[in-house]
Amino acid sequence: MLKKPFTNNNHNPHAHVNEHEGYRGVGMTNNLNNQDNQQDLSIEQQNRRLFMGKMVGLFGLTTATAVLAGCSVPMAMQYKNRSGLPDRPLFSEQEMTTLADIGATILPRTDTPSATELDCHGFVQHQLVHCHKPAQQQQSIDIINKIDEHSEKHFAKPFSLLSPLQQQQLLIDLEQQTNFSVQDSQGFAFLKALIVFGYFTSEVGATQALNYQAVPGDFVGSIPIDENTKGAGSQAYY
């Protein structure tokens, strides 16, 4: 319904360094931000139009306009979250680079963007700082370094320089505790869940990878689906 192809073919994200932030990874999203903004605006406009449409349909135009004139919706739709700009950097440049590539390995680009293209690594840092405990922050730093150490030990290069297949296999080994400890896999499970959360609560994740319904209109208890049906991108509680 709100689907619009994600277009970022003009940029190689890894080629860019954000001068202001001084590290790769987060900085690379700067170019994406421009893309994002255009896209967000478009989806926002569509959301707002949908909401307006519902209101007009139900109240009539005069009332709906009056209602929305003083309403939060226009403001709400304007608000932009740029989670890649932490007020307290948690990860070093190197850690952020590795984290970005962990994200792209867990959720790679398919017909929808990868986790890294959606700045999930920036989100993870933001969320760890604002909504998680110091122990969880440390655990996340530890597991990122553990992944790099493991990569250096077995492949003589950092995780970011492995081939995509090697990266995938390393993280599968980590999940299955092959050459990794239980504690390692638990630390990774937490980090992975946070990346996934960041992905599907992002606008692109919710509206393109999933079927986001801002205003469903009605509840139907039972509908047929097939293997191509997307899950609901909107939930009452996250």
């Binding site: 139900l58 709400a76 869940a193």
Partner: protein, 577 residues
């Protein structure tokens, strides 16, 4: 559109003062105004205007900096208690009370989680909207088994008033003709999902004493002309109700009772007015008004009226009464019985089970249903009680298909994993007990001996614990839920019991502390929610309850309130008040 009059200073003697603007206060104000009485609604918090102050409505999760989660530091400093509420999030936190500014204490070794919503509309903005009548078995329960005092009313006394509020508020549900759960005036029910229909059929065959019904909820599934006239339309099934709803699709003060009251031209509202105490006149033996402390600048003022309705929430109303001391009532107004503050109850939501339903993977649902299923109490009279405890419980619950939330904790790396997260997952179905809590004298609130809040009002001190009866009930409910789901063929069934770790209060169904009763020596209020001791003081909110029953209580607050106003106005006309 808005015709409410917001006031600050006033020497006017109003016909009626209504303290509080939540579900009870909204109804009281509407009824007084429509009967032609000049009415002042007093609200301790800020004004929340319908629609324009629903500042998070329509926002997707990506529009919140922390993606709907609340910042650690903010929680630590201001929301240590409120964070425990299921509906508390970055999308709703502005409608919750601030624990830093609203402290209370609990007896050592006990805990009570008090969820607050101090703004115009109160908890009517945040409520769960489930709406059920109490039955004669509920009103008779105390008398039947000897716990607590007898309710001075029965279902017949409330029947027409229930119908009246249901018709106006709009309650969706289906008629079931069950003795323990009287039917309401219904709008069409929400639909059940495919697994729910299967489980309903199974349970009703396997357990002849049980029925699984669609939850009854204050949502407009099919608005009537009465609702459209209120400016309300059909529920859009967003299930994001606690952000506020511009469609007015669920009942709240803002969507329903307040516009009706305002339309009469008889309503004034004093926001930001924290009621300190009631003014009692020893000569006339009546209340003459209220003392108020300004919420913002702490200045004091008074408001006057012929009658006062206390609708400030269960703990809030009783706090005001306990703090209203006079030579006649040294222990709190209308407290000659000494029971004011006692018999505090909540509901016990501490056991349940969840499992996976197989065989329906080709079915899904569309929209977000703002309700679930209900298995009404099947132990509703002494002959049906279990051996080791009294009273019973209902189960609420429902089904959903798992999503990426669940998948985020499953193993998987790469594009196949990513794809699996975008698909509907397993069907899950859960049951959660809603247990009755016995009325016990020991479960009480009082005023703290020395500590006061920033408005100079003594803090509430709560001493409330689950008794052995509640613990035994939850153990049984846990086992029963597990058994029902297992027998129905669900897989991976797990059950829980949190009665030892979760404080009372979190069902947000606190009731009691100013109970009704026929005997003025053992109760605060008569059968019309009128104080035995003070004829022009009424308390129609949850504090008036004699027992908790198992049903969500708000619908009964509404019915008690409109009945009390009707009685009060008749008494005023007859010059007995």
């Amino acid at each position: 559109m808005t015709t409410e009059r917001y006031i600050e200073e006033s020497n006017q003697v109003y016909d009626a003062i209504v303290i509080g603007s939540g579900i009870t206060g909204g109804w009281a104000a509407k009824e007084f105004c429509e009967k032609g009485l000049q009415t002042l609604m007093i609200e301790r918090g800020r004004v929340v205007e319908h629609r324009q102050d629903y500042i998070t409505e329509g926002k997707g999760p990506w529009e919140f900096e922390n993606r709907t989660k609340v910042d650690n530091l903010l929680i630590k400093e201001q929301y240590q208690v409120q964070k425990k509420c299921y509906a508390f999030s970055d999308m709703t936190k502005h409608f919750f009370g601030n624990d830093r500014d609203l402290p209370y204490t609990t007896e050592q070794g006990t805990g009570f989680d008090w969820i607050r919503a101090n703004q115009l509309g109160g908890k009517s903005l945040l409520w769960h909207r489930q709406s059920y009548r109490l039955s004669d078995y509920d009103f008779n329960a105390n008398k039947a088994d000897g716990h607590g005092n007898d309710w001075p009313i029965r279902h017949d006394d409330l029947d027409t008033w229930y119908s009246y509020v249901e018709t106006f508020a709009g309650i969706s549900g289906a008629a079931e003709n069950m003795p323990q759960l009287p039917d309401s005036e219904f709008l069409p029910p929400f639909e059940m999902t495919a697994p729910e229909l299967y489980i309903k059929k199974f349970i009703e065959q396997e357990y002849p004493d049980r029925k699984m019904i669609m939850g009854r909820t204050a949502h407009l599934t099919e608005p009537t002309a009465l609702h459209i006239a209120q400016g309300r339309v059909k529920c859009q099934t967003r299930n994001e109700c606690q952000k506020g709803c511009s469609f007015g699709a669920y009942f709240s003060t803002q969507s329903s009772t307040l516009p009706a009251a305002a339309k009469t031209g008889n309503l004034s509202i004093a926001p930001n007015s924290v009621v300190h105490s009631l003014i009692y006149d020893e000569k006339s033996k009546k209340v003459t008004g209220v003392r108020v402390v300004d919420n913002d600048n702490l200045s004091t003022r008074e408001y006057y009226a012929k009658v006062v309705f206390l609708c400030a929430s269960t703990l809030g109303s009783t706090q005001i009464m306990l703090n209203s001391k006079s030579p006649s009532f040294p222990n709190g107004i209308a407290n000659s019985s000494g029971v004011l503050g006692h018999y505090l109850m909540d509901h016990n939501y501490n056991a349940g089970a969840i499992g996976t339903v197989e065989g329906f993977d080709d079915r899904y649902y569309s929209g977000r249903r703002p309700s679930g299923i209900m298995i009404p109490n099947f132990q509703y009279k002494p002959s049906l009680y279990k051996k080791d405890y009294v009273r019973g419980y209902a189960f609420s619950g429902g089904s959903h298909r798992e999503s990426w939330n669940n998948g985020s904790h499953q193993p998987g790396i790469g594009s196949d994993y990513k794809d699996s997260l975008t698909r509907p997952g397993h069907w899950r179905f859960n049951l959660q007990a809603q247990g009755e809590m016995l009325p016990r004298y020991e479960n009480a609130m009082s005023l703290h001996a020395s500590k006061t809040d920033k408005w100079g009002i003594p803090l509430i001190h709560v001493n409330c614990t689950w008794s052995e009866n509640e613990k035994l009930m939850m153990a049984d409910a846990q086992q029963t839920a597990f058994e029902m789901l297992t027998k129905a063929g669900l897989k991976d069934v797990t059950s829980f019991n949190s009665v030892e770790t979760r404080n009372p209060g979190l069902a947000i169904h606190e009731v009691g502390t100013a109970r009704m009763g026929l005997d003025p020596k053992t109760s605060v209020l008569n059968s019309f929610n009128q104080c035995h001791d003070v004829p022009n003081l009424f308390v129609p909110d949850g504090s008036s309850f004699c027992s908790s029953a198992v049903q969500n209580p708000s619908l009964t607050f509404m019915a008690l309130t409109v009945r009390a106003v009707d009685y009060c106005v008749k008494e005023m006309k007859a010059q007995r008040i």
